[in-house]
Structure formats: C-alpha cells, structure tokens
Symmetry: C2
Subunit: 421 residues, 2 copies
Amino acid sequence: MFQPPRGTRDFLPEEMIRRQYVISIISNVFEKWGFDPLDTPAFEDWLLLSKKGGEAVKDEIYYFKDKSDRELGLRFEFTASLARVFANNPNLPKPFRRYQVGPVWRYDRPGSGRYREFWQADVDIIGAPAGEADALCVAAACDAMQSLGFSEFFIRINNRKISKAFLMSIGVDKINDALRSIDKLEKIGKTGVVKELKDKDIANDKIKKIMDFLETKKLSDARKFVDGELGKEGIAELETIFEYIENFGFADYVKFDVSLVRGLEYYTGPVFEINAGINVSTGGGGRYDNMIEDFGGKPTPATGISLGIDRLVLAMEEKKLFKTDKTKTRLYIALVTDSVLKEAITLSKRLIAANVATEFDLMKRSLSKELDYANAKGIPFVLVLGEKEIASGKAKLRNMKTGEEKEISLSSIEEIKKIVI
Amino acid sequence: MFQPPRGTRDFLPEEMIRRQYVISIISNVFEKWGFDPLDTPAFEDWLLLSKKGGEAVKDEIYYFKDKSDRELGLRFEFTASLARVFANNPNLPKPFRRYQVGPVWRYDRPGSGRYREFWQADVDIIGAPAGEADALCVAAACDAMQSLGFSEFFIRINNRKISKAFLMSIGVDKINDALRSIDKLEKIGKTGVVKELKDKDIANDKIKKIMDFLETKKLSDARKFVDGELGKEGIAELETIFEYIENFGFADYVKFDVSLVRGLEYYTGPVFEINAGINVSTGGGGRYDNMIEDFGGKPTPATGISLGIDRLVLAMEEKKLFKTDKTKTRLYIALVTDSVLKEAITLSKRLIAANVATEFDLMKRSLSKELDYANAKGIPFVLVLGEKEIASGKAKLRNMKTGEEKEISLSSIEEIKKIVI
C-alpha cells in the first residue's frame, strides 16, 4: 500500500473543505486591504534560494538537479521569489502590494504541527518605509484572524533596533547570540534565558540588566533602556506603527514585547508574531529593508507578515471555530426505482443550474443503500423520487439532521432551493 | 538577474486575477455537480508515479531523491495520487466523487501553450460503472466551459472498444500502433494517417477500410463496422452516455468521433476530449476501469475528465472572454496633505469593513504622484481627501475610466459603496 511521502498529507474532502474555507477567508481579507494576488513557481534556482537562506539551507530544503543539471530547490517560503519578481519587473507600480497563498516545502523533522509540505498566506509591501505599511500588514492580519472567528488572538510586536541598541549600550559583545537566547523567553522562561546567557559567557551583571530590560511591558518604559540614535529610531518607528494600528481599530490585539527577535539574518527593524492561543506560532513577519538590494535590486524598503494555514486550521479545530459541512453537496435525489432515472437527471440539472449542489445514484442501488450513502457523506437533504412522485408532481424533502420531512412541488426549484441552501 | 526556472512562469496580479477567476468558476461548477475537493502532496513516491507512467516516465518528470535517498517525483497528473487515496481509505463513501485543482509538473520541452509547471482541474468518479457517471463528468465539463463564457466549444467522444473491435474485425495485427495513428487524424489529416499506416506495414485494403471507418460521423453508423461482443458493448455504452448527456441538456456540445483514442495504457472504454476552438486540446479524459486494481485496490470502475487551466486561460484571452480588472482594489483615497492621514486610515478601515477594497498612500507622495499610482494600477475610483473635505464632510469621488466626478458624503459608507462596487 502506497502512503503519502514522509511529512506530507492527503486532505480528504471534509478537511479540504475546512482548508478552502480558511484560504478563501484570508485571501478575501487580503484583497480588501489592497493586496493583489501573485503566484510564482513551486521550485526556484538553488542560487536564488541560497541568497535568502545561505548555503546551509540546502540541508533543510528539497534540493535537486533537473535533467540538464540545473540546481533547483522547492521553495521554502515566498519572499525570495517575491524579491526576484520585483527585481525583474521594474515597471510594477510602487509600492508593490501583493499576497501569495500556496504550499512551501521544508526538509524538516515531521512533528506536531510541523510538516514537510505546508501552506502559507503572505502579505508584503515593497517600497514603503517603516510606518503606515507595517501597521497595514498587522491590521490585515488582525482582520484575517477576526474573520476566521478568533477572538483571543494577539500579535506581539517589537523593533529589533531597540533590543540591539540596549545590548550595545550595556556592552554585550555577542549581540546576535544574546538576541537568540532572549527570543526564547516565551518558550523556555526566565530561568532558561538566564542559563543560556550564562552558557554564552555573558557576565552576571549584564545578565541582570538584560532580565530587567525583559520586564519592560510598555513601549514608553523601553525609553529608559536606550539612549543612542538606533534605539531612539526603533522606539519612534514603533510609536508610529502602534498609533496607526490604533487608528485601524486593532489596538486591543497588539502587544509590545521586547523579547521578540525572529530571523536574525533577515529582519531589520519591526518584527511581528501572531499568537492564536495554541502552543505554536500561527504566523509572523517584520520589516526587511536590505533584502531587495541583496537580491540585486535598488535599495528598497519592505515589510510583510505571513500566516501559517496548517496551524490556523489546527487552532480553529482546537477552538471549534469551524462550521463547515462534511460535503459541498446540499441535496441527494434518491431513486425509488431505476425507471425514474431520466427524470432525476433532468431535475438534478435544473437544481444545479439554480446553484443547488445535487447528487443522485450512479450505481443503480436500492433505496436503503442510497440513503446510507447520503448519510455517510453527510449530505444535509434528501429528496425521494419514485413513479408516484413523478405522477403527482410532489415529493418529500427530508432534512437528514432533524429528520423533518416536507412535501414540495417538483416544478418549483425555488421552493426546494429555499429549504436546502 | 534571476529568472523563473526554464518552463515555469510568474503570474503578476493582472494575470493572476484572471487565473483565479477561471479556477474559482471551475471549482464552483464542480461542487454544484456533486464533487468534493481533495488535495494530495506535490510529490509522490517514484514507485507510485511509475505505476501510472511506467519506468520511461522518469525521463519526462522531475525525479529526485530526498536526503534519506527516498526516490520521489513531482506529480505529473492527479490520478495516481487519487488511486492511492482511494486504496488507503476504504471507508470513503462510494462512489467517491472528487475534484482536484492544482499544479502538476512535467519535464517537457517548453513551447507554445506547453510549460513545465501547469495547472489542472480534474473531476473523477471512482466506483460507478459506464453510463451515468461518464455523462455526469462530461456534463460538468460542459457547464464549466459555458460558465467561463465559451459558446462554440465541443467535446469529442469515442469508445476505445469500438475502434479496437473494428481493427480486430478487419484483421489488423498491430492494433495499438494503428490506434496511435488514427488518433492523429485531427492533427495530421487523412493523408497523414494513410502515410503512417503504410509506414506501419498495414495492407492497402485494410487501410482503405480504416479510412472508410473514419468517415463515420454518427454513432448509429458505427454499428455496421463492428459485430463482436466488444464492439457492441462499446456502442451500447456510448448510446447510454449520449442519452444521459442529452437529458443533462448538453447534446449540442458533444460529437461522436471514431478517431479519438487517447492514452493507450490507461483508458479502457469511453474517452473524451475538449475542443475550445484553439489549436491545442483544453482537456480530456475517459474511463479507466483497471487502474484502481493495478494500484493494489479491489477491481473498481472509474471515470473522469481533466481541464487544463493554462490553456483555458489562453483560449479565453484569444476569445476576449475576460472581464476581470487589473487589480482587486476598488478605491484609492488620495491625500491632499499628510495632515489628513489619520482620517484616511479611519475612513479606509470603515470602507474595508464594508467590503470595499481600499488603498491609500503609504509613501507620503504628492497628490499627482498618488494619482499616477492609482492610474498605473488600474484602480477604478479615487476619492480626494484634504483638510477642506474633512471640514465639510464632503469629498469628490472620481471614476477613473469615465473621468466623471460625484460629490459624496464622507459619513455615508453605503453611498460610496453603491458607486464603487
């Protein structure tokens, strides 16, 4: 028996309907916020991918050669492709605001909520400096979360400039090492962070200062920890961003968090991370003002945020937010006898033309087997059609959940439609 | 400058909006016809793929090994995965009716309308014998074509059993060789077919009989060319299928075509091919009653049809069937002065909440630069907002196509919405 390759999954109809629901809600929200769709190939030149992830990323992705020995790799995120598209199309109106939804692949150890094939939904704005653009991405993400039905989510926000400026000001040498440990605060707690910093040979008095800094809960309180240009710039940027987020009406869903750092090689300032109330992050992002230039374009500021579809589905299942059905079919026409097949075909066509997703038996089964099928599939309504019904022009329409039956006229598609949709 | 890998493409917003339109119309039609969505991994075990395509297919696909030396390949169509899913999930209600839309990959020589990454939209019914199920797949495809705006498309239909029985009855030995040549009738014409048959050492009198057979235009006329069981079965199956297609209301869009054969290793009876009036096929399918068993399942009849998204987009562009916009954004709020930014943010949020896709400037540009941007993006409406407008509560809403301007009240989102959506 063949299985899906390790770390990948099949999505049977019931689960696929939930995934499509999530994807369509998010895409629709992104479009309302002024993002247009973009799509790029599933694989890219290895050189392009290595620009983003470094040579070491080869071990973490699906890398392969094609039959002409071209080095390729399955995309592991969307931004390298976005940078390529932006560089190749200088005439794109700026800022370039796009969203992209689709699968990405990582050769990761499969585990709870971690797969080798998973879907992301990204919004990015290329060409606008820190401020409105960052607030807009965070607001679009908040709207997506609300539209999916989340009420207790929040987005943690920091500016890498603040954390970096603080560490510099207290004389920490290995700033990136320290940042990596600080970033783990949510996961490993204060004791864990202290231990890691000690292991990295950071002096005790500095560790104490760092732990004091990590107590900061409000942006205004962060001011006393920084004094140089960099730190002040970081605070000013966040002040503006928080102000705009408030104007957008999402102040209750964002939290300043000095411990948040995220990808070190990539983000240059504001960073975001979405918490949907489950034990893994459901998305995140930030500003990456150096990337377009690194990819051979002109220096261009950029920011974005990414939602993890698989983890959002997981979180929605945990929180019982799905109200989707097991099937898209609304009505099953059960044939009492094969002799009414033609009438069933004609009736089904009229219903389908009126946007009622309709099925009937394709296997010449008995009525009871037909009802078993409709039940197993979770089709919500069944119409029983026999010669008596054809003769009288009336038939019984059964609600499969409540068991309620109603007599309807076969000539009125509208009457049936009103009940089943 | 990095390019997309050979044979793959980027889809910028304007084209992506058209693709999404096609995909959403088709998915919606498939759901109305009683097909539920399924998704499977982008790559599969090479052994599974080779079951469908044979060892030789390795040269035509993206084959690679992962870091644990697993042999994998990017899927080149959906049915092998479908057979695997069906075999692995014995509790699926039968018949299993699913649709799948997504990219597939072939290591093909790129050419006009031929790419290494392209999208397919398939419907298949597993578990139902020849008859209603085949008619339903063809009807769903007809509805999809109509819903996309095609009026002059048609679907060619044949039954491999008829052609095979005829060739056997006249004593042709190399039946598959002959079928391959016959299948090319549309492409290479009668002279071409005669030449190929001669090259395959088929006797002149037999070639004459074959060419007579190929003149058959009506199913009833095919009867005189076959007499054995197989041929009669083939005709009876098609008679039923054509009858049901007529009941579904699509008789005008199907044509009996004895020359149609399609994939020899795969299809066992009825075969279909969609002609959208461009010089390449836009889809096709047929019945494959042996495949589930070949994949290790119980003997199970199966049928389906596949639409080629990329070629449908091409055909719709040729026939100017697209009425989609260049952008999903409906309204641009142009700021006369930066001092009204907050009001613009608040107004945009109210519009977005009312489902009006809205943008405003994120780059502190001059009014004329803002209008250039809205123009370049093809945003259909612009609302000009300055301090005067904030003070009076009234602003001008400009239709960018007609140049028409209308004064609207900033407090009435409904009034704006009525104009711009």
